[in-house]
Each structure stands twice: as structure tokens, then as C-alpha cells.
């Protein structure tokens, strides 16, 4: 900075900015945030989706309220058997929590590969969910950890619903016009469980998933059969899909045998991919098959490691 102070321009404001100035308020507490939402302001969290859309439109769609100033919504903690991630917690904030890493590895696998260092420092987990992208890297992890969305509004009080109910279609959520996501509540792994998320992209960073797969497994003992399983598929349907039949095929089986191929076949058959600029539907189906075959053994190894055994 030159230290010359603020340049005055005729008419004021940025000269070359491609974006009209935003009408943004920055409340410091939840009460102020709920009030702003009741007045119809659009929630702006990290802005990594909303500001890019605004750039292409030349302006934000309307008056907005910044979520990030509400300190009480920024926390990440595990208490009373729940991983609670505040509605304003950034992806980087989530990744800094060792408790979250232990509780929900599949969620953190996804969080770690969102965007870039710069993006993760501003982007929020709740924002990644509310953006409603079928390819969101954190959503399959939220799904296998049976996350619930906690919502509040000035006039409607609070409610909560499961992530699968909250997501109603591509870019469509159940968020009401006056509501705020106050927290995401994920179920931590049990002592004999492991979870994993992997995606396929062409570039390692700053790229969107062709396909993402999350797997959560429970085992009796290291080397023993799979006791419980869930599989979530991202970017192969209007929202995240649960591959329940594929998960069922793993129960009572070892993670490396013919059951793994059967589960991969069932997951590939259950997904509903589309052709688009990133990938053909047929290729996405093959990727689901491949990623299930990678995630199941990884989730199993992690479960075994939690028990402290040798793994399979």
C-alpha cells in the first residue's frame, strides 16, 4: 500500500469492476442473521459459488446477508455422540479439527479436495450443501454419516431433516426463504467402523468430480466379515444416491472377494448418470464401479485400524 490513502473518483466506487456493488449486511450474531433472512436477504457464505454466478450476471440477484460474521455458527465439535459443524464453519475449519477427522473420515476426504487452499479458507460446508450441486464432494460423506441439517428462522423456530430429504434436485434444496442452516449434524463412526470417499477428476485440484463415491463399513474384527455397510454415489443422479442393494451385498462378506465385484456391479447398475461436458454417462458408470472397488477396501482398512488390528 502506498499510504497515500483512498483515491477519490468522480462518482465513487470501482471503475473497472465487472460486478455491481453488493447490497450486503454483516450481522455478528444469529439474531441479526435471522432478522436479515426474514427481510428476504439471500444468504452469502464463502461466496465461491454465489459471487461467480453474480459475476456472470453482473450483479448479485438481490440484497444479501453474510453468514461468516456470526461467530457462534463457526464451531466444529464432537459432543454427545454427534459431530456438529456450524452453519458458518469453513471447509478449512472442518479440516483443522482432529475430532472431526476421527469421527467422519469420508466427509473429511471430500472436504480435503474441495477447490484449493484459497477456496477452502472461505467456502463453508453448509454452503457446499446448499449450493445443491450433484457433484459436491462433501455430500456423499455427509450421506453415509447420516447427517441432519439443522435450520432456523425468525418466525418458524428450528427444524431438522436428513441431508437426503434436504436435497430435492440439482440446485434445489428444502431451504425456505427465511431460513438459515445453523448446523450440520453428522453421526460419528462407531468403534468398529471406517469410512472413505474418493472421486475421479482430470485435474487434481480446482476440478469438479466426474463421479464421487463414499463407503462406510462396520466389521466385527480385523480380517473378519463386513457387518454393516452403506454406499453413497455423487454426480450420478439429480442428488446424491444411496446404493442400498450394493451395500447389502457386502454384508457377511470379506472386502476383497467376489462380493466386492457384486457390490460394484450393483452400484453401477443403480446409478443414474447423464452425459455432459465432463463425462459420458457410460464412463461415469464405469467410474462408479472402479471407485466402489477402491473405497470398500479403504473403509475396511480404516475400520480395522480403529480396532487396532492388522486389517485385511
Amino acid at each position: 500500500v502506498t499510504g497515500a490513502g483512498v483515491a477519490e473518483r468522480p462518482g465513487g466506487g470501482p471503475r473497472f469492476a465487472p460486478l455491481d456493488r453488493a447490497d450486503l449486511t454483516c450481522p455478528r450474531d444469529l439474531e441479526g442473521l435471522l432478522q436479515a433472512r426474514a427481510e428476504g436477504r439471500t444468504p452469502l457464505a464463502g461466496g465461491t459459488d454465489l459471487l461467480i454466478a453474480a459475476l456472470h450476471a453482473g450483479r448479485l440477484a438481490g440484497p444479501a446477508v453474510w453468514i461468516g460474521g456470526v461467530q457462534e455458527l463457526r464451531g466444529v465439535d464432537v459432543e454427545a455422540g454427534t459431530l456438529r459443524i456450524g452453519g458458518a464453519a469453513t471447509i478449512a475449519g472442518l479440516l483443522r479439527s482432529p475430532a472431526a477427522q476421527a469421527a467422519a473420515p469420508a466427509l473429511l476426504d471430500g472436504a480435503r479436495i474441495v477447490g484449493s487452499v484459497q477456496i477452502r479458507n472461505v467456502a463453508t460446508l453448509a454452503g457446499n450443501l446448499c449450493n445443491g450441486s450433484p457433484a459436491a464432494d462433501t455430500v456423499p460423506g455427509l450421506a453415509v454419516h447420516r447427517a441432519r441439517v439443522e435450520l432456523a428462522s425468525r418466525d418458524g423456530g428450528t427444524r431438522s431433516l436428513g441431508v437426503l430429504e434436504f436435497l430435492r434436485g440439482p440446485r434445489i434444496t428444502d431451504l425456505r426463504s427465511d431460513e438459515v442452516v445453523t448446523a450440520l449434524l453428522a453421526e460419528p463412526l462407531g468403534p468398529r467402523e471406517g469410512s472413505s470417499y474418493r472421486r475421479f477428476t482430470v485435474r487434481r485440484s480446482m476440478d469438479l468430480a466426474f463421479v464421487g463415491v463414499a463407503v462406510r463399513l462396520g466389521i466385527e474384527h480385523p480380517g473378519g466379515p463386513i457387518a454393516s455397510a452403506s454406499i453413497a454415489l455423487g454426480a450420478v443422479g439429480p442428488t446424491v444416491l444411496m446404493a442400498d442393494e450394493a451395500a447389502q451385498a457386502l454384508i457377511g462378506e470379506s472386502p476383497g472377494g467376489p462380493a466386492l465385484l457384486a457390490a460394484a456391479d450393483l452400484a453401477a447398475a443403480a446409478c443414474r448418470p447423464i452425459d455432459d461436458v465432463r463425462s459420458s454417462a457410460a464412463y461415469r458408470r464405469r467410474l462408479v464401479h472402479a471407485l466402489v472397488r477402491e473405497c470398500v477396501p479403504e473403509a475396511y482398512r480404516r475400520a480395522a485400524a480403529r480396532i487396532g488390528g492388522e486389517g485385511a
Partner: protein, 165 residues
Amino acid sequence: VSDEACTVNGLRQPVPAQWRGSRLLDFLREGLGATGAKEGCSEGECGACTVLIDGEPMCSCLVITDTVAGRDIVTVEGVDPALLERLDAAVDAHGGVQCGFCTPGFTVMTQWLSAGGAGAQLTAAGVPAALEGNLCRCTGYLQLHRAIATAAGAALDGGGHDDDR
């Protein structure tokens, strides 16, 4: 307006009313004359506009100025001069610059890395991952990554030093 001020490179800067609602990048460049941060892609992809906010790198094209009230901003103009000297020499030695447009963003990231931003035990192999949000369309990255690893004092583990010629 006192509660609307931020700190830029150690100087307290009130945000005048006409810059409310603008992008931080515009306030820095046009309001304060700090033109080091560059506008590349305008959508958080290229990292040329990277600044540190409370010590963490962010793209100033994706930050609305109102949200930095009370926060501490470091732009490329505020990077530690001794580090800058080391980076200059390393970039020169490794051929890590051509057009220079991405250089301010990489320089701010070097400051962050040398302050331990990517973790205590930064290795040369870890440098490319830490710089995932910074694009360079000229050098091909290896030269830049080597230069930055050298300047930031990354432990040499062989990973960033394959010969690419």
C-alpha cells in the same frame, strides 16, 4: 466508521462508504492503490489476486470488502523484504518467471508457506499441493515450485527436483 476499518500491510484503513459492497480486490487496487494483487480469472480459479486475511490465503476477487472489517490483510506489497530477496534469487536461479502476472499470488503464498501455513514440516514434495490454487500459464510449474520450495525453506526430499529439461 471506525468499526468498519481493516488493517492492510500494518496500516489501519477505514473502508469509505463508496467501497462498501465492492470486491476486496477492487478496494485494494483502486481504492488504496495497492495494485500488486492481479485480476486474472475473477472467479477464484487462478490465485493471482491472493492476499492473506488473518494469516490465511484467500482470493480477493471472491471477498466482499464489508466482510474484512476488523481483519488483518497482507498483500504482496506487505511481504517480508528478506523473504522477497530470497524468492527473487531463487526464482532467478530456477527460471520461475516469464510474464509475471501470477508472481504476486505465488509470492503471497510463499509468505504463507514460510510462516508454516501448510503445516510445520513442509517438504519440497508438499509444495505443489499447497500451490494448487495458483495458476501459471508460462513456466510449467516445476521451476516455480523449486524456487518457492527453496525460498520458503522446505525440507528437500527429492520430490520437487526431477530434471524436467
